[in-house]
């Protein structure tokens, strides 16, 4: 694996010639030869017009979409072609995901929402998981909402809880699809600062799809997609 050797210390995620087709309504190639590396501690943004393939790319990188061409490496390990159960385990410990529509589990408290991926991981005892979840909520400034049902929170608060959930297992990579798309400028700023800190202080890699040009401009590096191809 020559590519991993060039920067073995710092390449966390590597996309090699990713291509993807959709077959309905007609055969359409939405990703074309996408190739890039993401480094440890890097705050990377993905931009491009609507329909340029940003979300599609992110789903491939997230291991949830396995129907693509090319190869994906995370931490130097080839992810492409692994069994769905292995992929689920990789998502559990190495990838945190933040969606545009915060998608919390409505029946559970905010705290429990944050805890669930850690309970699945099974690395810490229940009490410790609970403590860690409180810590994450605190980082995001929503610890006082911990015991409320997720559905009772405002949009900005919910998004912060879902970021706390993405952080709970200390993943190497945090992926976000328009994480600030539904937030006002104040909340957008908060989320941006959090990502910046995570990258700088925790050496976590952020890959965020965004529409927001200011948001992108302030990140470490921006990759621009057009018509399924990296142009910048």
């Amino acid at each position: 694996m020559s590519l991993a050797n060039t920067n073995a210390q710092s390449v966390v995620l590597s996309a090699r010639s990713i291509g993807k087709y959709f077959y309905t309504p007609e055969k359409l190639k939405v990703l074309k030869d996408v190739q890039f590396d993401a480094y440890k501690g890097e705050f990377l943004t993905l931009v491009g017009k609507s329909g340029s393939g940003k979300s599609t790319l992110l789903y491939c990188l997230s291991t949830m979409d396995t129907d693509y061409e090319g190869d994906l490496f995370i931490d130097g390990e080839r992810i492409t072609g692994k069994h769905p159960t292995q992929l689920a385990a990789i998502r559990n410990h190495s990838i945190g995901f933040v969606f545009q529509f915060h998608y919390l589990l409505p029946e559970f408290s905010c705290l429990k929402n944050v805890m669930i991926p850690a309970l699945k991981l099974g690395k810490y005892a229940y009490k410790e998981v609970e403590e860690r979840a409180y810590q994450k909520l605190e980082i995001l400034g929503v610890q006082d909402q911990a015991l409320k049902p997720a559905s009772k929170l405002s949009g900005g608060q919910q998004q912060r809880v879902s970021i706390a959930r993405a952080l709970i297992n200390d993943p190497k990579i945090i992926m976000c699809d328009e994480p600030t798309g539904n937030l006002d400028s104040k909340n957008t700023q908060i989320v941006f600062d959090i990502f910046k800190q995570l990258a700088q202080n925790n050496a976590q890699t952020i890959i965020a799809v965004t529409h927001d040009t200011d948001f992108a401009a302030a990140s470490d590096r921006t990759i621009e997609l057009a018509d399924g191809r990296i142009i910048n």
Partner: protein, 412 residues
């Protein structure tokens, strides 16, 4: 609180939808309750019917079958065949078994035979004045017969002991006593088909619960019956035998058949008409109770399908955060199994209550109280089917949930 996260999620789902959970469980409860009730009633009724059969039938009978004359084959001598034609007719001249004592001893020595007794049956008329009625005098050793058929419990007046060794005594059916207006202690004239007349004293009256029997049957000593049949002391018409397991009587009868040329007939053969009714009843009962259980399971299936449709987002989230296919199956399977267990436990309880109440309800006639009884096997089967079918009913939607593609949900 350190418990399995899949269980945790499943329980939260159930608790936040209490109504749905209860409705689904209730379906199972009703299904299992009905299943227990129907099967216990059937089991009780079968047992009652069996007992009725064994009041009069031993597990097997050994007797001399009527032989029919067959055409004699002609002696064929070089193409010249002579045929002798005869009308087929019963050729048995005596109903007696040859050397019955030895046969009886041999039968008694077989390991699966619990008891065996000889009998002499004679067709007779019971006469009083000008009234007459037809019947069968059953010559037995009353103690042996009581051991086999529990005759003592059918005695209305008089006693079995009074017949023991009393050659002039007779115990008659209630129907005979009523028809001929006879009472305990009265004398009765008996005439046999062999033309023997005998005056006997009524020492007991019985009621078997079967009208035909009560109107025709009487018990006398073997020696008295031999006199009525105008035969000697070796004359025995039937040997009755019971075995360790009435259900195996057919095999046992085949086995006994190897040591005697006489007909050995198991009770199932004698009562095949009743038993064919049993088979139909079992099929009907099986079909109905399975249908009820399937409907209950279908309720679970529907509710789980609905739940999963409502929870597509949650399933996608769980998968995105690292839950794999078998975790998802585990979560939803736990939910349906929980509803199944909840429903089954209450169903079993309701079944048990039904049984204990109904078994005390008097339905009258010779049946007495409701022939329903508590059979552990029925409960085990109910629990097995209840939980098994709901697990299966939950598994199908759960597997569907496990196959959901989270990306397609997030794109919406």
């Amino acid at each position: 609180m350190a418990r399995n996260v899949n269980l945790d999620i499943a329980l939260t789902h159930l608790l936040t939808r209490k109504r749905q959970t209860i409705v689904a469980a209730l379906g199972v409860t009703i299904g299992i309750g009905m299943y227990i009730f129907m099967n216990s009633l059937m089991a009780g009724f079968s047992r009652y019917a069996r007992n009725e059969i064994f009041k009069m039938n031993p597990h097997m009978k050994i007797f001399r079958e009527d032989e029919i004359s067959v055409p004699l084959d002609g002696h064929s001598t070089e193409g010249n065949t002579m045929r002798v034609l005869i009308n087929p007719a019963i050729t048995t001249t005596s109903k007696s078994l040859l050397d019955p004592q030895r046969l009886l001893e041999n039968v008694r020595q077989i390991s699966f035979i619990t008891n065996a007794m000889p009998q002499v049956n004679v067709d007779v008329f019971y006469n009083k004045g000008n009234s007459q009625c037809k019947g069968i005098a059953n010559g037995i050793n009353i103690a042996e017969a009581d051991a086999m058929f529990n005759i003592g419990s059918t005695i209305l007046s008089g006693s079995l002991e009074a017949l023991q060794g009393n050659l002039g005594g007779i115990i008659i059916g209630k129907g005979i006593a009523e028809k001929l207006n006879l009472n305990l202690g009265d004398n009765l004239t008996i005439s046999s088909s062999r033309g023997v007349l005998k005056i006997m004293k009524i020492v007991g009256v019985f009621s078997s619960g079967n009208k035909n029997t009560d109107e025709s049957k009487s018990y006398v000593n073997i020696a008295a019956a031999q006199q009525l049949a105008k035969q000697g002391t070796t004359y025995i018409t039937d040997i009755y035998a019971n075995t360790i397991n009435s259900n195996q009587a057919l095999e046992f009868a085949q086995n006994v058949q190897t040591i005697t040329p006489y007909k050995v007939e198991a009770w199932q053969t004698t009562n095949s008409d009743l038993l064919s009714g049993d088979v139909i009843r079992d099929i009907m009962n099986g079909t109905v109770s399975m249908t009820i259980l399937l409907i209950a399971a279908f309720g679970i299936y529907n509710i789980m399908n609905m739940t999963i449709t409502q929870k597509l987002n949650d399933i996608a989230i769980l998968k995105a955060t690292g839950f794999n296919g078998s975790d998802i199956v585990g979560i939803f399977l736990r939910e349906s199994i929980f509803m199944g267990i909840l429903g089954t436990v209450f169903g079993l309880a309701i079944g048990a209550i039904c049984i204990s109440v109904l078994s005390k309800v008097y339905v009258g006639g010779p049946i007495g109280t409701f022939p329903i009884y508590f059979d552990a096997k029925v409960f085990f089967r109910g629990a097995f089917f209840g939980i098994g079918l709901t697990a299966l009913a939950g598994y199908l939607p759960a597997r569907k949930a496990a196959n959901i593609d989270p990306v397609s949900i997030f794109r919406k």
